[in-house]
């Protein structure tokens, strides 16, 4: 790799790492002040647990060689064995993705999960869900990737995967005491806005960094990422203005994230003004989707399902429609005349990940619940997780 590409991948790694504290703030501002530290720590600790496992063996499992007919990687690169500079750098770049994916799930379990259960959940989920799913799509001969499924920067591997896993854990965990009757309002919306800003900033590394070079594809990815986020912000804002009467700060931040999620699988594969379509669709559909939890009464506390799972599906589907021939080759988007092959593969890979991730995550959650209990307990929930689980208070008065 030349110095320019190296520079771009170095900084992209830093950018994606920075998304984790960004996500922590985005989520942390949305919970009540008695639980904000727990939310911050659930996110930050993913940057502790995941990298250690990643360099020891998980990177190898998720991406290296072929061991099992395209189902899971080998241990050939365990302990960073035989990685040259470029390999090391890609390993580090992907380590940030592996770290943020479980962190995304934390939004669904806010306010009630026992912290020790989270410490057990994250490594299990990484190995049992993230590694195989990543291998299927990105691995040397992962079966979904081989069939022709596309996922530029992780719409399916990261967002759909985390989103549906969030649903599974939320179902096993159950609803918060008092939800949805008692109001549980965001305690600090400026924090949410800082978080959204950091996420947008970092997402340039996430998506344009996934070109693995500072080239035309990276440029296309950056432009698409930028525009989709803008369009989704406006779409969400107008959707809520029409339905609820107001443009809101939380809506703007949520729209931005929805748009970023939706463009993720497609960032380097679509061109021109398609990104406007991704953004607008994600803004409206995610806005509508976050309401479903009240109808179906699952307590996805901070809307991981509505934003990441739904946004990921919107993006993965639209990619099947709008993938650009110049960028993806002959099996391009259905809507652009590329035939239904890509579109079908997109639906297949999304369906596979939805089913696999849901099932295995559900099982992991059930097992943890059986062995050590998932919920912190009623009293702790009332008092707040910060003082009870972490012996800390976020904001001191005196």
């Amino acid at each position: 790799m030349d110095s320019g590409n190296t520079a771009w991948l170095l900084i992209s790694t830093a950018l994606v790492l920075f998304m984790v504290p960004g996500l922590a703030l985005f989520y942390g501002g949305m919970v009540r002040s008695k639980n904000v530290l727990n939310m911050l720590l659930m996110n930050m600790v993913c940057l502790g647990i995941v990298p250690i496992l990643w360099v020891l063996f998980a990177y190898s499992l998720a991406l290296a060689g072929d061991g099992n007919g395209g189902l899971i990687g080998t241990l050939d690169a365990a302990g960073l064995k035989d990685l040259d500079s470029q390999g090391l750098l890609e390993m580090a770049f992907l380590m940030t993705f592996a770290s943020i994916t479980p962190a995304l799930i934390s939004g669904a379990v806010a306010d009630r999960l026992k912290f020790s259960a989270w410490m057990v959940f994250v490594p299990l989920w990484l190995v049992l869900v993230y590694c195989p799913v990543a291998f299927w799509i990105y691995g040397a001969d992962g079966w979904l990737g081989e069939r022709g499924s596309l996922d530029f920067a992780g719409g399916t591997v990261i967002h759909i995967n985390a989103g549906v896993a969030a649903l599974a854990v939320a179902l096993v965990l159950g609803r918060r005491k008092g939800w949805p009757d008692e109001p549980m309002l965001p305690h600090n919306l400026p924090l949410v806005t800082i978080g959204a800003g950091i996420l947008w900033f970092g997402w340039f590394g996430f998506n344009a960094g996934s070109a693995l070079a500072a080239d035309g594809v990276a440029v296309e990815a950056l432009v698409n990422t930028f525009v989709a986020a803008s369009a989704a912000m406006m779409a969400w804002l107008f959707a809520e203005r029409i339905k609820d009467g107001h443009f809101t700060t939380l809506g703007a931040g949520s729209g931005v994230v929805a748009g970023l999620v939706a463009i993720t699988p497609a960032a380097g594969y679509v061109s021109g003004l398609s990104s406007l379509v991704f953004g607008a669709a994600a803004g409206v559909l995610c806005f509508l989707a976050v309401g479903l939890k009240y109808r179906w009464r699952y307590d996805d506390s901070l809307d991981v399902v509505g934003v990441h799972m739904v946004g990921g599906i919107v993006g993965g589907t639209l990619l099947g429609l709008f993938a650009d021939q110049a960028l993806v080759g002959d099996d391009y988007g259905l809507a652009l005349g590329g035939g239904s092959s890509l579109f079908g593969e997109q639906l297949l890979s999304m369906a596979v990940v939805l089913v696999y991730s849901f099932a295995v995550t559900y099982a992991i959650a059930k097992v943890i619940d059986g062995i050590m209990g998932l919920r912190a307990g009623d009293d702790i929930e009332t008092t707040g997780l910060d003082s009870t689980q972490h012996a800390e208070t976020a904001y001191q008065t005196f």
């Binding site: 008695k34 008692e182 009332t382 003082s387 009870t388 012996a391 800390e392 208070t393 008065t397």
Partner: protein
């Protein structure tokens, strides 16, 4: 006129407010406070140093009511605020010399 003052758990505020509304109490004022009592506090740890935190977050609720309503309102609060666990708080009653509604200058019962 009487002033009913209650120190309650923050988690019971919603229930107490609804109960007071239902009981016809037209106004009240609340504030964030911190309480010390039998409930005890908890220990916090910052970089290995332990601190005993004696105060726990509570809500203070004040409602001015007619002299004859005070006992009833007190009962309403006690019922709604009770969880049965230590730290549920206290309610007390004070006599007032009078009350005025600032907007109109109305006094006492008319001011409520």
């Amino acid at each position: 006129m009487k002033l009913v003052t209650a120190i309650i758990k923050p988690s019971q505020l919603e229930a107490v407010k609804e109960a007071l509304k239902a009981a016809g109490v037209a106004g009240m004022t609340i504030s964030e406070v911190q309480g010390f009592g039998r409930q005890g506090g908890h220990t916090e740890v910052y970089r290995g140093a332990e601190y005993q935190v004696d105060f726990v977050p509570k809500v203070k609720l004040e409602a001015v009511v007619g002299a004859t309503d005070a006992d009833r309102v007190l009962d309403v609060i006690v019922d709604a605020a009770r969880t049965g666990k230590i730290g549920d708080g206290k309610v007390w009653i004070t006599d007032l010399g009078g009350i005025v509604r600032i907007r109109t200058g109305e006094r006492d019962d008319d001011a409520l």
